[in-house]
């Protein structure tokens, strides 16, 4: 009985951590447990991080990684802003989607055809794409978008923000694809053992390619939402996102060795991240200290995970 409880605790350790954090924060800060604060965190901050972290999780599930998501987000949203500031909203959105997918496709080709390590391929693409964004903007800022475009991100349906609705819809689609379809089966199998999966007659190259294209599309969507909310675009957008996405994936419990974890865990990881950041701000913790706190949290969650899987394996 005790063992059953303990192994359940380990299995859902991220959920336990999240609840503990929520309790601690509501005890230490009066403002924390208010509708304004919680809805701000969940409806305004979490959605961006959730969408791109799901992309990162997909790549990590296949034993890959995508370090170009953040710069792809910047380039696609800057090009989109170029059109949108002149009122060509549809053209802008189309441009962002095409650029996002294209960058993802280049990653996919480098990884599946040129056989580069995902780390190398996406790291170099990150530099190239960020460089193109700098060149495109050459230090300027685009702003003054139409109210209609901005309302995509700032609007809401009843009390629920559009941002939350969009991110949860994407979550639902990806969750279904990963857990209920043959595509998802292939993704997990590739993460565990790409050789055996290919030798089972599965088009592994196609699946891996699709993952990076999906990542590009998610980056473009996030970029569009981001500039819509800021009502401005610049080339340095999202330069600190990459580490946060990896942190959310890791805290959630998706393994870098591939085939283990999932976006439902990353959802928890993202919630843990945004609530910790929020709690530190409310309690007046210096922003200089926040990175260190995230680092400690990643280590703690990984240790719990290792300990937990060892424990469960011995049951």
């Amino acid at each position: 009985m005790k063992r059953k409880v303990l192994s359940a605790v380990f299995k859902y350790s991220q959920l336990v951590i999240l609840i503990v954090i929520l309790i601690i924060l509501s005890l230490t800060s009066k403002e924390f447990l208010t509708w304004d604060n919680i809805s701000n965190v969940v409806m305004q901050q979490m959605p961006f991080m959730l969408i791109i972290s799901m992309g990162m999780t997909l790549a990590i599930l296949t034993k890959g990684i995508d370090l170009s998501i953040a710069s792809n987000l910047a380039l696609s949203s800057c090009v989109a802003a170029y059109f949108i500031k002149d009122g060509k909203v549809f053209l802008g959105i189309l441009a962002a989607v095409v650029i996002g997918a294209l960058v993802g496709a280049v990653n996919g080709v480098l990884i599946t055809k040129a056989r580069l390590e995902p780390f190398i391929a996406t790291y170099t693409m990150d530099m190239v794409v960020r460089g193109l964004a700098y060149l495109f903007m050459s230090g300027t800022l685009f702003y003054g978008f139409s109210a209609g475009f901005c309302s995509i991100a700032t609007g809401s349906v009843g009390p629920i923000s559009n941002l939350l609705i969009i991110s949860l819809l994407l979550f639902a689609v990806l969750f279904f694809a990963l857990r209920k379809t043959t595509y998802g089966r292939s993704v997990y199998a590739i993460g565990c053992n790409i050789n055996a999966t290919r030798l089972s007659g599965i088009n592994t190259g196609g699946v891996v390619f699709s993952i990076y294209v999906i990542n590009g599309l998610l980056a473009a969507v996030t970029g569009l939402l981001y500039i819509a909310r800021l009502n401005a675009a610049e080339s340095t957008i999202g330069s600190d996102f990459t580490m946060q996405m990896m942190a959310a994936t890791l805290i959630g419990g998706t393994s870098f060795s591939g085939g283990k974890g999932g976006i439902e865990r990353t959802l928890l990881g993202v919630l843990i991240m945004v609530f910790i950041a929020n709690g530190m701000n409310l309690n007046g913790v210096s922003s200089l200290l926040q990175d260190a706190v995230f680092g400690v949290f990643i280590v703690i969650s990984l240790v719990i995970d290792k300990f937990g899987s060892k424990y469960s394996a011995n049951l």
Binding site: T182, A189, N193, I202, G259
Partner: protein, 503 residues
């Protein structure tokens, strides 16, 4: 027998893993200067016993005596200090370092207070050790440039460099050619003659009679018996291992071959040239040859995993156009690979996922995994193939080799294939499970499947095949009917001498 002859005594050793009694009061005794074979099926407890001896696992009960003195072993370092070394089946070497660096890994000789490595001494000592065993290798050679057999010899040298009294070898020959095995055995004999005791774990029955002095048999975590090799025979050992008598390992009923299932015309690739083979329904065709003859490369290329340079493949009379595993599986040809853990299965996943893995499109037309169809399909093959497990949700990594092989087979049968290529179908599989795999192969050809079987086990080739092709250095050097094939003939074709010895 006087007590001074005894190098090692293990008494009443117990080991529990959660839910399993892995070792149940096991006794084991090794004399000085003998090759003692430890025999048993997978899961019999051989490896666990040896891991306790070499300090990898702590024991849960029992005593260990070295030369009569009781000892407690708390780790690999302690075991080594007591003179116990183990060479694992999967070699643990730094492939990007040279021989000397591997031999002295963690024990590098130093020349001053700064602990600078005395490289001169390290290479000189390595040379001396290599010479002592008459191994012609330069200590500066990188491990990655060595064959598996040579790597194994370096492991032996490494064990000797730490004053080993008891050397444990876990299936050392599983990936060696006959010539390399002979070489390894002569080294083992010279070690034995210098007074070192060798515990030799093997599945290959023939080896026991070639190299062993005494043999201890284990079954289901229990000690069964210890006998002198000279006073026993193969069938007695097998019945001790499996706890029952196996009348015949190879069961074959022969049929008139049906239509042609697979044909290659002048197939040429990186490691093979001008290969023309033909396989009919209802036939098991063997593919013999030495390790390195290009057999695995040939079948991997046929299966679309490796590229072909020229030539054609005809599958069920139709030319294969797009050459990839995906196309071949869809057209009914499958490969049961030699390396089943890395190429045949996703071992981290449950049995059911593995069984449906190659049939996702066929089973789930709208791309959505229907749990009910998946369960029924997996249950069917689980039952048909007699896969021994706690159920279809058990992870494949915890199955025995024989049951893993059955999961691979189930995965392929589920696709509706009709041509099966087996690459070393029974490697690493115990005798009892071997007989089951042979029986399954026999059933399959009876139902009209066609089987191409690569094997390095001559008895298996001769016992199971309708016909045998022999390969040497990338070319087919002979084709023998089951009536004509003899071990001597297979060997002479394998080394490219044609049928000379038979004439």
């Amino acid at each position: 027998m006087s007590n001074s002859d005894i190098a090692l005594q293990m008494k009443d050793i117990c080991k529990y893993f959660p839910g399993v009694k892995a070792l149940d009061h096991v006794g084991f005794e090794v004399k000085k200067g003998e090759v003692h074979v430890l025999l048993g099926e997978n899961g019999a407890g051989k490896s666990t016993l040896m891991k306790i001896l070499s300090g990898v696992y702590p024991k849960d009960g029992g005593e260990i005596f070295l030369e009569g003195e009781p000892v407690e072993i708390h780790g690999v370092k302690e075991a080594q200090a007591l003179g116990i070394s183990i060479i694992h089946q999967e070699l643990n070497m730094l492939t990007e370092r040279d021989i000397a660096q591997n031999i002295f890994l963690g024990r590098e000789p130093v020349k001053n207070k700064l602990n600078a490595v005395d490289t001169k001494k390290m290479y000189a000592d390595s040379s001396a050790l290599l010479q002592k065993l008459d191994i012609d290798l330069n200590p500066k050679t990188m491990i990655k440039d060595l064959s598996i057999a040579q790597q194994q010899m370096v492991e032996v040298v490494k064990a000797l460099s730490i004053q080993t009294k008891i050397l444990i070898m876990d299936e050392p020959t599983s990936s060696l050619t006959q010539k390399e095995i002979d070489r390894l055995f002569s080294i083992v004999r010279s070690l034995r003659d210098s007074g070192i005791s060798i515990v030799y774990i093997s599945h290959r029955m023939e080896e026991i009679f070639e190299i062993g002095d005494r043999v201890t048999v284990m079954r289901d975590g229990k000690y069964i018996d210890t006998v002198n090799v000279r006073e026993t025979d193969m069938s007695r050992l097998i019945s001790m291992m499996v706890g029952r008598t196996i009348d015949h390992l190879y069961s074959r009923t022969y049929h008139t071959p049906g239509e042609e299932a697979l044909r290659t015309e002048n197939l040429t690739g990186l490691r093979f040239r001008n290969v023309n083979i033909s396989l009919h329904r209802g036939e098991i065709v063997g593919l013999a040859g030495l390790v390195g003859a290009g057999r695995t490369e040939l079948v991997k290329a046929i299966f679309g995993y490796d590229p072909i340079d020229s030539g054609t493949i005809l599958l069920n009379g139709k030319k294969v156009k797009r050459h990839s595993p995906k196309e071949l599986v869809e057209n009914g040809l499958v490969l049961i690979p030699e390396d089943r853990k890395n190429e045949g299965l996703v071992v981290q996943e449950p049995i059911k996922n593995n069984i449906v893995q190659a049939s996702l499109r066929k089973l789930f037309k709208n791309h959505i995994v229907n749990k009910e169809i998946e369960r029924k399909t997996a249950e069917k093959y689980h039952a048909d193939l007699h896969i021994a497990s706690s159920g279809i949700v058990q992870k494949v990594e915890s199955l025995s080799g024989g049951n893993q092989q059955k999961v691979v087979l189930g995965k392929w049968l589920c696709t509706g294939c009709n041509v099966l290529i087996f690459d070393e179908p029974t490697r690493g599989i115990d005798v009892g499970a071997k007989a089951e795999i042979y029986e399954l192969m026999n059933q399959l050809v009876g139902e009209g499947y066609a089987i191409l079987m690569i094997s390095s086990d001559q008895m298996e080739l001769l016992g199971m095949s309708d016909r045998i092709y022999v390969m040497c250095e990338g070319e087919i050097t002979g084709e023998l009917s089951k009536e004509d094939a003899t071990p001597a003939l297979l060997l002479s074709y394998s080394i490219g001498k044609g049928g000379i010895e038979s004439e």
